[in-house]
């Protein structure tokens, strides 16, 4: 397998992982919205309410930065990252 194929393989793996986390916090948990809202969560808000106000939103922010860092590492590993002066 060429370097480029390996790079793409890893990139796709990272994409799948990112989308899996994204799916859980944008769709998955809201399948159980009613049940989850019965339980008290962070700062005393009901769990579902907290996820819709802050939780999911905040997790998305962190997820994107995490994704960007991982992708940079993959690019570096295969020597595909951009030159700094580019």
């Amino acid at each position: 397998m060429s370097k480029q194929q390996q790079h793409w393989e890893k990139t796709r793996g990272l994409l799948m992982m990112t989308l899996a986390i994204w799916f859980v916090f944008s769709i998955g948990i809201f399948l159980f919205g009613a049940e989850m809202n019965e339980v008290t969560g962070p700062f005393g808000y009901p769990w579902t309410y907290w996820f819709t106000c802050q939780g999911s939103l905040g997790i998305f922010v962190i997820l994107i930065f995490w994704f960007a860092n991982r992708q940079e590492k993959i690019d570096e590993e295969f020597g595909f990252s951009e030159r700094e002066d580019d």
Partner: protein, 603 residues
């Protein structure tokens, strides 16, 4: 000189922010000294718009690269701010807290959808489109798939989606300008339009970028300052985001105590149009899982297909910066979105809790009608009470409010000085202007670059191209303003449709263009055309009394449109020959960040 400007950005915007804060202080001193509320409102709107116009003038350019993609040198954090302003529309600013106030959980799907979409932007599209080096989104479609038809169809989808959106934004600038400057709406729309064009006409994307950063700073201060102030004044907690659990629970208690009484249809007829009562639980789950998820999903896929957002990531210096910049965008959006539910909570509690001095439920109708702020907002057609059951006391079901009042009226109800209301008007204006600028520019650039330059006259010189681009900008702006002046749809309705249109036609052609090498021209054309048509058809069908299926409503018709688009694209692609070796090699190159961009620097 230019490099200097980029290096000095933190300083420039630091001084700007300080200046704006000083301006707020001067205004509040003015208020103490007897400046009228009208004068304060005019000062706020006029001062901020004048600053944007100056930035727009200073950013003027005669280069295609600067006009279309701001010279590709916008640093990540600043691009994040610009995107956040580009993204958060008049609807986000003025109507979002109101939506949460009235509809609770069912509405919060929009919060999740409008943020979750950025994960798709970052992981599926933005870095690859940046590597491509295109000027516009149809530029990517046209080059990846080849042929004028695919390029043209992409322009059509882009125009349909963005134009739906932009009329709502011009409408919002008109509303705010008409209130703040006290002129009729029909004229205020054009005042708003001229302010918008001042930012974008001379500098194109460069002008829009630097004004959007300035607009973000104004709008975020204008949103957060009142929320924190109100929360502290009510004694609800100095950092509302982490401290309102008791207030949320208290609203739940009061809802139990009052109950949601259904009004008779005849009674409801007497309520002015556009006002609503509290009929849904504040924090309880009041929508089915599918209703929530389908709306969130439609907004997420729409986010990843809206060209005015995508083109902001064409302006970063590198692929790496494009990815990071998406993170910063969402962070800056998060600051406002996470505050909207808090504002809705504070606003609702301050109105309905009888133990608070501002609470009006349980008071006598005559007493409520004598309150100053009630009279103000009643005459602005945003508040209404009526004694349906004739007991002389205001009940929860007898109190009605417009969605905008949550943001616009809460500062006054909580007893904040008028200077805050002026600030909020400036913030709403900034939010609507920045989004309108991004949208008008997206449409005008797509038509000038993709239709005029790439299809009609490929030999046109830069100077001529930029003249065409600017003429189109003005024409599209005026067309948008003319339609906005007719006031057909509410602000939010047309915003949500724009997402559905965009995802119907563009989501899969964009995503598969990067992630599926086998996707070809025929497939993409079928995907765009059939996706858009089926989405539009579904919308028309449901609007005319059609029952719909699978719980897909007129707000989520993009789910149907994009499903058709996906099937059409895959089937047609597989039935026709695979893309040429050159195209496949191009896709390979897009997938690695290093090396030259696919399209040259000047194209």
């Amino acid at each position: 000189m230019k490099g200097n400007f980029i290096d000095n950005l933190p300083k420039v915007y630091g001084i700007y922010t300080g200046g704006f804060l000083a301006f707020i202080i001067i205004m509040s001193i003015g208020e103490q000294m007897g400046m009228t509320s009208k004068a304060i409102g005019i000062c706020f709107v006029a001062f901020t718009v004048a600053i944007y116009a100056i930035i727009g003038y200073l950013s003027r350019t005669a280069q295609a690269d600067a006009y279309y993609v701001a010279g590709r040198q916008v640093p990540t954090v600043f691009n994040g701010m610009a995107t956040a302003a580009d993204w958060m529309s008049g609807a986000s600013f003025v109507a979002m807290a109101g939506g949460i106030y009235f509809k609770g959980y069912g509405y919060m799907a929009l919060l999740v959808g409008w943020t979750g979409g950025y994960v798709l932007v970052a992981s599926l599209l933005a870095p690859y489109l940046r590597k491509f080096g295109c000027y516009t989104v149809p530029d990517f479609i046209g080059t990846r798939y080849g042929g004028n038809l695919s390029r043209f169809l992409a322009v059509v989808v882009l125009t349909v989606a963005s134009f739906t959106y932009v009329t709502a934004q011009i409408n919002a600038t008109g509303t705010i300008a008409s209130v703040a400057l006290d002129i009729p709406f029909q004229y205020a729309v054009y005042v708003g339009l001229i302010s918008i064009l001042l930012c974008s006409m001379l500098g194109g994307m460069r002008g829009v970028t630097w004004t959007q950063v300035a607009q973000y700073i104004v709008l975020i201060i204008a949103y957060l300052l009142p929320v924190f102030w109100i929360s502290n004044k009510m004694g609800a907690g100095f950092f509302p985001h982490f401290m309102l659990a008791d207030e949320v629970a208290r609203i739940g208690e009061l809802e139990q105590q009052f109950g949601f009484v259904k009004n008779a249809a005849a009674d409801l007829k007497t309520v002015p149009k556009g006002l609503a009562g509290i009929t849904k639980a504040h924090s309880a789950v009041n929508a089915t899982p599918w209703a929530f998820i389908s709306l969130a999903l439609a907004m997420m896929m729409g986010t990843a297909s809206l060209p005015h957002v995508m083109m902001r990531y064409f302006t970063t210096p590198s692929v790496k910066a494009a990815r990071k910049s998406v993170g910063w965008s969402l962070f800056f959006i998060f600051l406002l979105y996470s505050s909207a539910p808090m504002l809705a909570t504070l606003s609702k509690l301050s109105l309905i809790d009888p133990t608070l001095s501002t609470g009006i439920i349980g008071k006598s109708i005559a007493e409520v009608q004598a309150i100053d702020w009630y009279q103000n907002w009643n005459s602005a057609n945003l508040m209404f009470v009526s004694d349906f059951n004739g007991n002389g006391t205001l009940e929860l079901n007898e109190f009605f409010m417009g969605g905008k009042a949550v943001v616009l009226a809460t500062p006054e109800i909580a007893g904040l000085p008028y200077v805050i209301s002026g600030l909020v008007a400036a913030g709403g204006m900034a939010a609507a202007m920045s989004t309108a600028d991004g949208l008008i520019l997206a449409i005008a650039n797509a038509i000038s670059h993709d239709v005029y330059y790439k299809i009609i006259d490929p030999k046109a010189e830069t100077a001529k191209r930029l003249v065409v681009a600017r003429v189109l900008l003005v024409v599209i702006g005026f067309a948008g303003a003319t339609i906005a002046a007719l006031e057909i749809q509410g602000i939010l309705g047309s915003v949500i449709w724009a997402f559905d249109f965009a995802m119907s036609g563009l989501f899969f052609p964009l995503v598969l263009g990067v992630w599926w090498k086998r996707a070809n021209k025929e497939g993409a054309c079928a995907g765009m055309a059939l996706g858009l048509l089926s989405g539009l058809g579904y919308l028309i069908w449901v609007r005319n009394g059609g029952s719909g299926f699978l719980g897909i409503t007129q707000l989520t018709f993009g789910i149907f449109g994009s499903a058709v688009s996906l099937v059409a694209m895959v089937v047609v692609s597989l039935m026709t020959s695979e893309p040429s070796a050159a195209t496949q090699k191009m896709v390979d190159e897009v997938r690695v960040p290093s090396g030259k961009s696919i399209l040259g620097k000047q194209h």
